[in-house]
């Protein structure tokens, strides 16, 4: 197990495998998203209260979930990188930040487009929306923090610590709707016990979320490969790899 893990986090191994996994993930992601789009926009019935506007859930909830999942993943990678000194984990955390920021932005945008017709407002400073906005700021802060260091090792350490501190925002986002009076309603799917959505409306949501996660996996792997090359440019494996690709051998 330990040996397997060490092998996996070794940069050349990760670099090589990442390409194959990225392609598989991307294929599965596109397939799931297309089926979920059809299910959500065509097959699912309109909501008893919200009519067709409820369909925004099929893009809003997956982006919201991914904004938090990506952060948890980034923080997890930072933790591993700090404690066990795996350089590849720093590379993964680096590339996740802008991806997570895009999902957070999508969550806020689609939320706003849902809030206007249903609640009657584009934006309110309630605890759920504010904490999600804070998540976006944390992502941007992380990116800015990295850019402010010249030296890679220092940037890695500072960014990893920052990412770990930012984790406190995740439970705040999730529980905000229970801890405080908010305009935003409670969780539909992640509730323990019976989800508050019927199956014919629920399956496209589940499939879309799976599709988003696979997509996240694919693009994270793709971007990680570039980041690894750049970080490991002085190593033998990168040198050989570049030479082969240039036809110098």
């Amino acid at each position: 197990m330990k040996k397997w893990f060490h092998q996996w986090v070794s940069p050349p191994h990760l670099y090589e495998r990442a390409d194959r996994y990225a392609k598989v993930f991307l294929f599965l992601a596109i397939a799931s998203i297309l089926v979920a789009l059809y299910g959500g926009l065509v097959l699912a019935p309109a909501d008893y209260q919200q009519g067709d506007a409820f369909r925004i859930i099929y893009v809003h909830v997956p982006s919201a979930w991914l904004s938090m999942f990506a952060y948890a993943f980034m923080a997890g990678a930072s933790f591993v990188a700090l404690v066990w000194r795996f350089s590849a984990a720093h590379a993964v955390a680096t590339v996740i930040a802008p991806i997570g920021a895009v999902f957070t932005l999508l969550c806020l945008l689609t939320g706003s487009l849902w809030g206007k017709p249903m609640w009657g407002t584009w934006w309110e400073w309630d605890a759920r929306m504010t904490s999600e906005l804070v998540l976006l700021l944390i992502y941007l802060g992380y990116i800015a923090l990295r850019l402010s260091f010249e030296e890679q090792a220092k940037a890695d350490k500072a960014a990893a610590i920052f990412a770990l501190i930012g984790v406190v925002n995740l439970p705040i986002i999730h529980y905000s709707v229970y801890w405080w009076n908010t305009l935003h309603q409670g969780a539909t799917v992640s509730k323990i016990g019976k989800p508050s959505i019927t199956w014919d409306m629920g399956w496209p949501l589940l499939l879309m979320t799976i599709g988003f996660m696979l997509f996240f996996g694919a693009i994270t792997l793709m971007a990680t490969r570039g980041e690894l090359l750049s970080r490991e440019r002085r190593t033998k494996w990168v040198k050989e790899l570049v030479d082969i690709n240039r036809g110098v051998n």
Partner: protein
């Protein structure tokens, strides 16, 4: 068909949400792909310079 596109009067909100989301995913894909290519080229150029420097 007309009914499908009108989304019960919520066409603007529904279609722009889906539009933004799809655009966001496509952007992420293109950005990740091009960042790999960019890094690869950077490293290649750096490597050529290094080789020249070592040869001298």
């Amino acid at each position: 068909m007309q009914e499908f596109f009108s989304m019960g009067g919520y066409a603007f909100y529904v279609w722009s949400s889906f539009g933004f989301s799809i655009a966001g995913l496509i952007y992420l894909y293109l950005a990740s792909k091009s960042s790999f290519k960019k890094k690869f080229n950077e490293v290649s150029i750096w490597q050529i310079r290094e080789n020249k420097r070592v040869d001298k």
